[in-house]
Every structure is written in C-alpha cells, then in structure tokens.
C-alpha cells in the first residue's frame, strides 16, 4: 500500500495509473467493508470517472498537483452534490444536497477521486450506536473493538487501505480519537483555518474540519488543499494559507517542546503502553536535538467542563426543533446525550464561554517560550465496541477537548502498539496557525520510528 506522497510521485512519473490505484482501493472496500462498515455509500462509478479524468490530465501533462488521482472519501456530514448525505441518521437518510461543501469542492478541484461517504457517529456525536439505519464502523486492528468517534469510518477506511485519505470533523476530539485508536495520523487544524460551510453543524464555536491519513506527511498534503479563507463560513480566518510541506523534513533540532504530563499521569491516567509511547517519543525528540521540559496547565476537568457545556448547549440549539418533534427517531446515544443540553441554563453557557477565554489566555502564556506541547491523545487502547459507556464524556475528562476549547491546532501520531496489538498514540499541540511546526515534529518522529510500515493484518498489506 502506498502513502499519498509515494503514490503522487509515481503518478506524476507515469509509473502508477490513477485508474488502477482507484480499482485497487475499490477492491479493498469490497473485501473489507462488510466487516468494518466504514462506508455508508460507495460511489464506484463516480470514483472511476474521477480516476479516468485524472489519468487523462496527467497523460496530457496537465496534472493538478499532489492529490490528482488520489482515492479519498468524505465523512457523511460533508454535503456532496447529488450524493446522499445522512449524518448517519434516520432523520436525514434520504437527504441529497444540491451543492458540495467547500472542502469537498476544494478536494475535487485538486483532482481527488471520490470513493464514497463514510460512517460517523450520529450527527458527529452519538456512537457507537446499533439502532441506526447503518451499523457502526469497526476497528481494523480488531473488529471487535471500537474505532472511537465520531470520524469512525474515516479512521477505519484509512487504516485498512480502502482510501488514502479522508475528511473528519472535530468538536471535542472526533478527528484525533479515531486517528489514535485506528493508528493513523489526523489533525484538527486551528479554528478558522478550514471551512465548515456545507458541513452539518454540531457546535458552532467548537466545530473544526480536518484531514486524516496514514502519515503526517499525507495530512500536510491534504490540509494544503483544504485550508483557506471562505466567506461562507462566518468563523473562517481571512489570512494567507501557510505552506505545510516545504519545511516538513527540517527536523526538530532546537524545537522547544512542553510536556503536559499531569494530564495523562494524574488527571486521567493512561494505559502503560500509551505512557511508554509518549515517554519514548520524548526521548526520540531529545535525541534529535529538541529541548523538552514539563509544563503545567489547569486540570483536564477544568478544560473539559466548559467544552462539554458549550458543545451540549450549541448542539441542543441546532437540534431542538427535531428533538421536540422526532425525539425517538434519533439513536438512543445521541438523543440521550444531547437531551442534557436542554438542562443547561443560559447563564451557565455564558460562564462557560467566559471560562473558555481564561483558558485560552492560560495556554497562550504557557506556550510563550515553547513551540509545541505533547500530551496523550486517548487514555489507552480501543475498548470493545460493545463496552463503551453512554456517559463516557461526562465520566472522565478526555485529552482532546482542551484544544477545541482553545482552538489550537492538535494532531495525533501513532506511537506503537499495546495490549492486543492495538495502536497507541500521542497528541502534539501547536500555536494558532502554526500547523507547519506540528507537521515538522510529527514527520520527524514518524521518520525516526518504523510504525508506518505496519498495517492491520486484515488489510492484507
């Protein structure tokens, strides 16, 4: 199996046919999707048409760049013109948008081939649910286990080689959770960097769009084609898009790294393999010339509380009309979790957004003389898919929500394998709009280690 960077070079050199590459991914979908449920809809005809068009362009010397002819798919909350977009919910099971979301349009313009629409937790929050029109995605490293969510189909499809990259969305960790548990790379960019126009909303001030792929380098290539100002997204930042790939291989010599150790040692202790992976990664960074030191922030619970109160309040506002009229058409998990949003008072929501600003200021100060932070991405290896508690998000603070609260760029990188051969991961956090440094640090670690050579056994690599 190729990475996007490898395939792109071969396609550019006319040594790899986009049509053959797409056919090989479609074959992988046919073989694995009945087990993994990563796709809700496979758009085979569209994929082959896209691939033939890419091949014709490239043969004519009119290639569109590194994503021309690359097989991708979109989380099923991204609107796709003429192609069903359901939010993995009964409420939208016949919804066919008339226009592409901005990101779907941008990736199409970059020459990608669209293989279909991917499983999500219902409306990007509800899973893993077994009472929806489609089953939940399963983890390619062991289908008895959870992918995390909500970008569950993207995590499963990328890890198993059905696609080379895909879209996710992240409101409290929905890109980074599945990236961590499926052993891939995924980045939640800075709030405002990527458009959310045409993407089903969950929580307006916490929602982010972003890419997921097998490697950090592939995420950088995908983000390059995804980022940029969009006047149709009211939160879109009007600033030039940085170059994410030119300095990717510049290493980490001199990089100043802060470790938020209390998050994963005291606030929510992680599994032994997760901790070992982070500690070893820090040793690798020091060996490569980075400076590593510890940094203290408010507790994980202090960051999670405003995050979840804002998320539940805003999501409740989005869904209130349907909650009142079609409550039992939602899956149980989404419906019950979201109902709590109706119990939050207006003044509590305001206090949460005041608290949020204080936490943003705290993080800014803590990172004043640092380039990136490192902490855990997930508490450990994936649980069994039938053993995920309904109130998980309230019971224990997660590691990803803090950086939705602050809007900081945050990325997951696989750090090896733990119990049952399931992946473990770390999270790298950057300063606003400094994704390039995150990519440089993630790429340096991946290059120094060999984890990207190992795919799930069922992928047949």
């Amino acid at each position: 199996m190729f990475t996007i960077a490898e395939a792109s070079k071969l396609i550019g050199d006319k040594q790899l046919s986009p049509v053959e590459l797409t056919q090989s991914c479609l074959a992988q979908v046919k073989k694995l999707n009945p087990t993994l449920n990563a796709f809700l809809l496979v758009t085979e005809e569209r994929a082959l048409a896209d691939a033939k068009a890419a091949e014709a362009r490239i043969m004519a010397g009119k290639g569109r760049g590194p994503l021309d002819g690359i097989p991708i798919a979109h989380k099923d909350i991204y609107n796709t013109a003429g192609i069903r977009t359901t939010g993995h919910s009964k409420l939208l099971q016949d919804n066919v948008p008339t226009a592409d979301s901005t990101v779907v349009h941008k990736w199409a313009e970059a020459g990608t081939t669209l293989l279909g629409k991917l499983a999500t937790h219902e409306f990007a929050m509800g899973g893993p649910s077994f009472d929806l029109p489609w089953p939940p995605a399963r983890n390619p490293w062991n289908p008895e286990h959870f992918t995390a969510g909500s970008s569950s189909g993207t995590g499963a499809a990328v890890a198993s080689g059905m696609i080379m990259g895909g879209t996710g969305s992240d409101t409290g960790g929905s890109i980074r959770g599945p990236s961590a548990l499926c052993g891939i790379a995924g980045i939640k960019p800075t709030y405002g960097l990527c458009s959310r126009a045409g993407v089903l909303p969950l929580s307006f001030t916490l929602d982010h769009t972003g890419p997921m792929a097998w490697t950090v380098e592939d995420c950088a290539i995908l983000l390059q084609a995804m980022a940029g100002h969009d006047p149709s997204d009211p939160a879109s930042a009007d600033r030039p898009t940085p170059d994410f790939t030119t300095n990717l291989s510049n290493g980490v010599k001199g990089l100043r790294i802060g470790v938020v150790r209390h998050f994963f040692e005291q606030d929510n202790p992680v599994s032994p393999a997760t901790k070992q992976g982070i500690d070893h990664a820090l040793e690798v960074y020091e060996h490569l010339g980075a400076e590593v030191r510890e940094v203290k922030l408010s507790s994980l619970a202090d960051y999670n509380a405003p995050g979840w109160l804002i998320l539940l309040s805003e999501a409740y506002a989005v869904h209130e009309p349907w909650l009142k009229t079609r409550f039992n058409d939602y899956g149980e998990l989404f419906r019950d979790r979201l109902a709590l949003g109706g119990l939050i008072r207006a003044s509590d929501y305001v206090q949460a957004i005041r608290r949020r600003r204080m936490l943003c200021l705290e993080l800014k100060e803590a990172m004043a003389d640092l380039d990136i932070l490192v902490t855990a991405a997930a508490p450990g290896e994936a649980a069994k898919i039938t053993e995920v508690p309904k109130w998980l998000m309230l019971e224990k603070p997660n590691f990803t929500m803090p950086f939705n609260v602050t809007g900081s760029p945050a990325m997951c990188v696989c750090t090896g394998f733990g119990t049952g051969g399931l992946p473990v991961s770390m999270q790298l956090i950057g300063k606003p709009f400094d994704e390039a440094t995150l990519f440089r640090a993630g790429h340096a670690y991946e290059t120094a280690m060999g984890w990207r050579k190992q795919r799930p056994a069922l992928a047949g690599a």
Binding site: T205, P231, P234, S236, D238, A301, D302, N304, A305, P306, W308, L309, L312, L323, K324, F327, D336, A339, L340, G342, L343, I344, D348, V350, Q351, A352, I353, R354, R355, R356, R357, M358, C360, K390, W391, L394, E395
Partner: protein, 61 residues
C-alpha cells in the same frame, strides 16, 4: 452543589418541551449530577471583567 430533587428535575425537563417517557427521565436524572459538576466548575468565581470568548464582527464578510 446539593443533589437536585426529583421535583426540581421534573421542572427542568418540562422546560425543554421534549416528550420524555418515564425511563428516559430516570436515566437523565441519573446522569445529571455529572453535568451539574461541570456547571459548578465553570461557575466558580471569575474576575468581573473576564470577557466571553466570543467576538462580534460588525462587518459581515
């Protein structure tokens, strides 16, 4: 924060206008203390001048 009484919780639920059945009400009542703990955490005293994170842009792009 003291535990919420069933009556007070019934009032909160009624304000939503959602037709919960008895089992759903009971289940939400069980989960509510975890939400209340989060509310307590964000409503701890802050400087009076602490502004929300929202910024209003008068010029629509």
């Amino acid at each position: 924060m003291p535990p919420i009484s069933e009556t007070a919780f019934e009032t909160l639920l009624a304000q939503t206008g959602i037709p919960f059945d008895a089992a759903q009400k009971k289940m939400l009542h069980t989960a509510y203390p975890m939400l209340a703990a989060m509310i307590e955490r964000v409503t701890a005293p802050m400087p009076r001048e602490a502004e929300p994170a929202l910024i209003f842009h008068p010029e629509i792009g």
